[in-house]
């Protein structure tokens, strides 16, 4: 039985735009991944708990309402506190360049801005998984 990459997609903050996240969810599914979509208006606590219970490899967070600077790093913090810091945390949405730089310093591994091709996201996740190899055991 093959190992399947599991990805949590979550929308933080108060915006209600779902088209982008749906496009990404379908692209990841078509790339053979299992995508858990947890819906809109998620808090960092909800995202961290969901990621833990679902034991996903990757957490993709999207924010279009400026919630990213507080919420994204908080998710990373919560995961580390609970011993689940081995997950890849990436972000996307409307995020200015200077914010991206700050997020990268706070444990968000990569920030995809508007207009990123889904193939680029898939390639990034696959490369990360391949690099991690069989070393994942905690």
């Amino acid at each position: 039985m093959a190992r399947r990459t599991r990805v949590l997609l979550a929308k933080l903050g108060l915006d209600a735009h779902t088209i982008g996240v749906n496009v990404i969810a379908q692209a990841l599914r078509d790339a053979g991944m299992e995508v858990i979509y947890s819906g809109l208006k998620q808090t960092p606590e909800m995202v961290a708990n969901t990621a833990i219970q679902e034991d996903v490899d990757v957490i993709g967070m999207s924010s279009l309402s400026a919630a990213h600077m507080t919420h994204f790093p908080r998710v990373v913090e919560l995961l580390r506190e609970r011993g689940a810091g081995d997950k890849l945390v990436i972000g996307g949405g409307v995020i200015p360049d200077e914010d991206s730089a700050a997020l990268l310093e706070k444990g968000i591994e990569r920030v995809f801005t508007m207009g990123t091709a889904t193939t680029e996201i898939i390639a990034y996740i696959e490369a990360w998984q391949a690099g991690r190899g069989a070393g994942r055991d905690t």
């Binding site: 039985m1 093959a2 190992r3 399947r4 599991r6 969810a25 379908q26 990841l28 599914r29 078509d30 790339a31 053979g32 991944m33 299992e34 995508v35 858990i36 979509y37 947890s38 819906g39 998620q42 808090t43 606590e45 909800m46 708990n49 969901t50 833990i52 219970q53 679902e54 034991d55 609970r82 011993g83 689940a84 055991d137």
Partner: protein, 321 residues
């Protein structure tokens, strides 16, 4: 003794979730952890929720969690969605409806993809419910994929099977045909505030009336619910608990447990045996030859399968000598 199993037994969600992941991915360390957890299973009330797509199963589970939590019971959920047959990927969206419970430490929700398993469950559902049971959850709910007529595997897993329907699926409860009607312990007409609920109830009652009485003497109950508002959920939860008590009092619970263990064991045995034979065949070029022969209609599939198993037996015998 497995360290991760110890932590799971203490209720650690990170550890329990990881063990489920290993089992789902077929990793040997999953089986190792499960060995340590298995003796601690058997306490939880296992409830299966099944019914056609769009019946509101996830919303019903969400409402049920709320009621069970108000009674101070901890709850775990395994929610199953289909795997895409083309890519092997899946979009698992059941928990969207349950996210208000995401920060409740007494609730654990796990989404699983069928990964090619038929029957309404996923490949590692039995294992996952075992892990959650061992972790100490009082109630473990399994929400099947949206099923049609014959996907009733959940009955072999659950103590209590709840079949959910909705008004307007067709004038004779189209989506609930023989198989599924015969197996339910509780029946729910969800979205009962919609037109047609009375008709649906009438048809369901008529069909249940014609059902052979259950060996354990349980009379199936019928519930009208509106999961979005919580209407009728209290009674549903009570009826679930009453069913469990009935099983305990009549001794049927032991029979169910035995059936469950046997089913789990046989499923596992089948998959291990097939895997072993296929691994063996993969080292042999006759395997691709057999497939080619079947494709060319030079050999029928029955004979091909027998020949493969025969070759396997021969090799085993040779190894023993």
């Amino acid at each position: 003794m497995s360290e991760i199993a110890d932590r799971a037994l203490e209720g650690c969600q990170v550890s329990g979730a990881r063990v489920i992941r290993w089992l789902e991915d077929g990793e040997p360390r999953g089986a190792e952890a499960f060995r340590a957890l298995y003796p601690h299973t058997g306490r939880a009330h296992l409830i299966g929720i099944t019914g056609p797509p769009g019946a509101g199963k996830s919303t019903l589970v969400d409402a049920l969690i709320t009621v069970l939590r108000s009674r101070d019971l901890s709850v775990a959920v395994v929610a199953i969605d289909p795997t895409s047959p083309f890519s092997g990927g899946a979009i698992l969206g059941d928990r969207i409806r349950m996210q208000r419970h995401a920060t409740d430490p007494g609730v654990f929700i796990r989404s699983m993809a069928t990964r090619g398993q038929l029957g309404g469950l996923s490949r590692a559902t039995f294992e996952a419910t075992g892990v959650l049971d061992a972790m100490g959850y009082d109630v473990v709910i399994v929400e099947t994929v949206g099923v049609g007529q014959d996907e009733i595997e959940v009955v072999d897993l659950a103590h209590t099977t709840v079949v959910v329907s909705v008004p307007g699926l067709g004038d004779d409860v189209q989506a609930l045909k023989a198989g599924i009607l015969e197996v339910g312990d509780l029946f729910v007409i969800n979205k009962a505030d919609r037109p047609g609920a009375d008709d649906t109830e009438k048809h369901l009652l008529a069909m249940l009336h014609g059902r052979a009485p259950a060996a354990d003497g349980w009379e199936p109950t019928l519930h009208r619910t509106v999961a979005t508002s919580g209407e009728g959920i209290d009674l549903l939860a009570e009826s679930c608990a009453a069913h469990r008590s009935h099983l305990e009092e009549t001794g049927a619970l032991d029979a169910k447990a035995a059936r469950r263990a046997e089913h789990f064991f046989l499923e596992l045995l089948r998959s291990l045996a097939a895997q072993r034979i296929l691994e063996d065949a993969a080292e042999d070029e006759s395997f691709s030859y057999l497939i080619a022969s079947v494709r060319a209609r030079e050999l029928d599939p029955y004979s091909a399968a027998r020949r493969l198993v025969g070759a396997f037996e021969l090799r085993i015998a040779k190894d023993e000598n």
